[in-house]
């Protein structure tokens, strides 16, 4: 790997130190004899109280990055090979198991993608929300239950007292995701990782859940790392965005900068791949929905050169040979592309 330069924190919009700081993370999975390089030198900073969007297509390593941060990669499947994950200065990768258990849920919590299966079917939801409180806050059963009901109310579950006595199968997907959010919030963590929290929900419920997350971010000050494949969600929720491709970040900017002037050809590809009203009617014309040609690279071998080069219309010999270095523009816009300067002068896609 040539792309293992330690990256300085970009865009310190706030002068505060990042609450979560990931540097040069490499996570490998082992399947049969092959090594799958799921995360290849990912770096990110999450500042206190912000919402950071992470976007990329399926298989680009978004979720694996999240699981790596909480050290949830099943030992049998793979492991974090190198890098550092610092939560308020403490490296989570070297934490002994006992202390890690204390950090999980208390300092950093996670909301998962599948609300339908993320709740234990044999436990009442009140007990599930209360579990974290008993564990981390040393609350008694009764006190934890009272707080659990408050939390259910906070995530806007109607009649929380009654719902706390229900089993998960009686709740809809949206309600269950609210319960998951209540569980993630229970111990007032400083960091919440939301891994595609709305992917499994229908559109109206998605909007409600996102609203709720944004409100809770304002109310509790918990920094949220929002993982999604939906640029629309990013535009609405996040202040900063990281675009991931083939296990690493290729572009990082504030939402305004990224949408106004996407620099990386991959980001541009993503933006033209968003369906727009009327686009389908002039299919074949200028307005046709564009796809990014080609496939996500196989992660079975280390990538030489730029991972996006085989799919990139602007690729040169240099792109194929050498991995791009990360350049940070004066406005904090980070990009890993050899052609960035050339692209900047070209007009961004509409």
């Amino acid at each position: 790997m040539t792309l293992s330069v330690s990256v300085p924190p970009h865009l310190p919009a706030t002068t505060a130190a990042p609450v979560l700081s990931v540097r040069d993370l490499h996570t490998h999975f082992y399947k049969d004899d092959a090594v799958i390089h799921a995360v290849n030198g990912m770096s990110l900073d999450l500042f206190p109280g912000e919402i950071l969007g992470i976007v990329g297509e399926s298989g680009c390593g978004k979720s694996v990055t999240a699981l790596s941060i909480l050290r949830l990669i099943p030992r049998a499947a793979g492991r974090v090979v190198s890098g550092s994950i610092k939560l308020e200065g403490r490296d989570l990768l070297t934490l002994p198991p006992r202390e890690l258990e204390l950090v999980r849920g208390r300092d950093i919590s996670m909301i998962f993608q599948e609300p339908m299966t993320s709740l234990n079917p044999v436990l009442r939801i009140g007990d599930q929300v209360a579990e974290g409180l008993q564990l981390h806050k040393g609350m008694g059963r009764r006190a934890a239950m009272v707080r659990a009901i408050e939390l259910l109310d906070l995530v806007r579950i109607a009649d929380p007292k009654r719902q706390a006595q229900e089993y998960p199968h009686r709740l809809s997907g949206g309600m269950r995701q609210r319960v998951m959010i209540a569980m993630a919030l229970a111990c007032e963590p400083r960091v919440m990782i939301a891994d595609e929290p709305t992917t499994a929900l229908d559109v109206t419920i998605q909007a409600q859940i996102l609203d709720l997350l944004a409100d809770l971010n304002r109310q509790t000050g918990a920094a949220i790392m929002l993982i999604t494949h939906d640029l629309g969600v990013i535009a609405e929720m996040a202040r900063r965005v990281i675009v991931m491709y083939a296990g690493t970040s290729v572009e990082e900017a504030t939402v305004e900068d990224l949408f106004a002037k996407p620099l990386h050809p991959y980001t541009r590809g993503l933006m033209t791949a968003i369906p727009r009203r009327g686009a389908w009617r002039v299919s074949g014309g200028l307005q046709a929905l564009q796809e990014i040609p080609g496939m996500v690279p196989s992660l079975r071998e280390p990538i030489t050169g730029c991972a996006f080069a085989p799919r990139c219309a602007y690729a040169t010999q240099q792109c194929v040979r050498e991995a791009p270095t990360r350049q940070v523009r004066p406005n904090g816009h980070m990009i890993a592309c050899w052609q960035a300067d050339r692209l900047e002068t070209m007009e961004a896609p509409s």
Binding site: F112, Q113, L135
Partner: protein, 290 residues
């Protein structure tokens, strides 16, 4: 209509109601009713019959009549009294084996599903245990020690444990990957608590179903052991030793074999019906798999 009453109409709170639960499950109902009857008979046996061991030579090989309901055997003992007494042995052995092997199997299976190193060692031991036929083990044990119901239970339980362990282990391995278990780990729940609170309750349904099959097979194995004389001592009537004692008189006094045979068949049927019923209601997916 108020919101509360509307809510009641849309999603009425369903309390668990036994008669309603049983109505749609005839197998479960039949099995449970039959088994309950047998348990009541076994408990009340001493009051429902006279002494099962009383030998009355005058009654030898008498056919069933109004005072000897099931007839008498070659020693003139009341077959009705002996059959009813035999129910006790069968049920005690069946239930004990089921409960002990389920409990031990659950504990070992959960630990194996969690710790891979332990798993590698323990599963080889389980393979070895599985290779021991319970009949041979029982014969060996009764030869070494004074026979008794306890020994029979031990002998049948040992080879059953690996079967339960295998089942529990496979269930635990699937459950460990469930999002709610991963979510609990992400929430900082300790390993022991993950096992007791998130894994065990979700593994109980298939375990209970498996336990009923273990129970049925234990009852049959006990009857077999008693039949060849390696089971409970002869002074305790058990269906196996009743049938064994009367087998040479089968042609002139078939009732002495018939009634304990019916008892055995009914008990195993009851347990299996109960098991099938429980499987269908507790573990809908397994019914397609098995």
């Amino acid at each position: 209509m108020s919101t509360a009453s509307l809510r009641q109409t849309i999603m009425p709170t369903r309390r668990f109601h036994l008669p309603v639960f049983l109505r749609g499950r005839p197998a479960l109902l039949a099995g449970a009713a039959l088994l309950l009857t047998l348990v009541v008979l076994a408990v009340l046996a001493p009051w429902l019959t006279n002494n099962a061991q009383t030998i009355s030579p005058l009654n030898r090989l008498r056919s069933p009549s109004s005072d000897l309901w099931f007839g008498a055997d070659q020693l003139g003992r009341d077959v009705y009294a002996r059959t009813l007494q035999g129910t006790r042995v069968s049920l005690i052995v069946g239930l004990s084996v089921a409960v002990i092997s389920a409990a031990l199997g659950l504990a070992i299976g959960v630990l194996c599903g969690f710790y891979r190193r332990l798993d590698a060692v323990v599963m080889r031991i389980m393979d070895a245990l599985m290779a021991i036929p319970s009949i041979l083990l029982a014969i060996a044990l009764t030869t070494l020690m004074r026979g008794g119901i306890f020994l029979v239970i031990v002998a049948i339980t040992i080879p059953e444990i690996p079967r339960v362990v295998r089942l529990v282990r496979s269930v635990v391995l699937t459950l460990r990957g469930q999002p709610y278990v991963v979510a609990a780990i992400a929430g900082g729940t300790r390993e022991l608590r993950i096992m007791t609170r998130h894994i065990v309750p979700n593994a109980l349904a298939p375990l209970i179903v498996q336990a009923t099959y273990v129970c049925a097979s234990a009852i049959l194995t006990e009857a077999g052991l008693s039949f060849i004389g390696a089971g409970v001592p002869p002074d305790v009537p058990s269906w196996g030793n009743i049938i064994a004692g009367a087998r040479s008189y089968f042609q002139i006094a078939p009732w002495a074999i018939f009634f304990p045979g019916i008892g055995l068949a009914l008990t195993v049927l009851a347990v299996n019906l109960l098991g099938d019923g429980l499987r269908d209601s507790l573990d809908p997916r397994a019914s397609k798999r098995l």
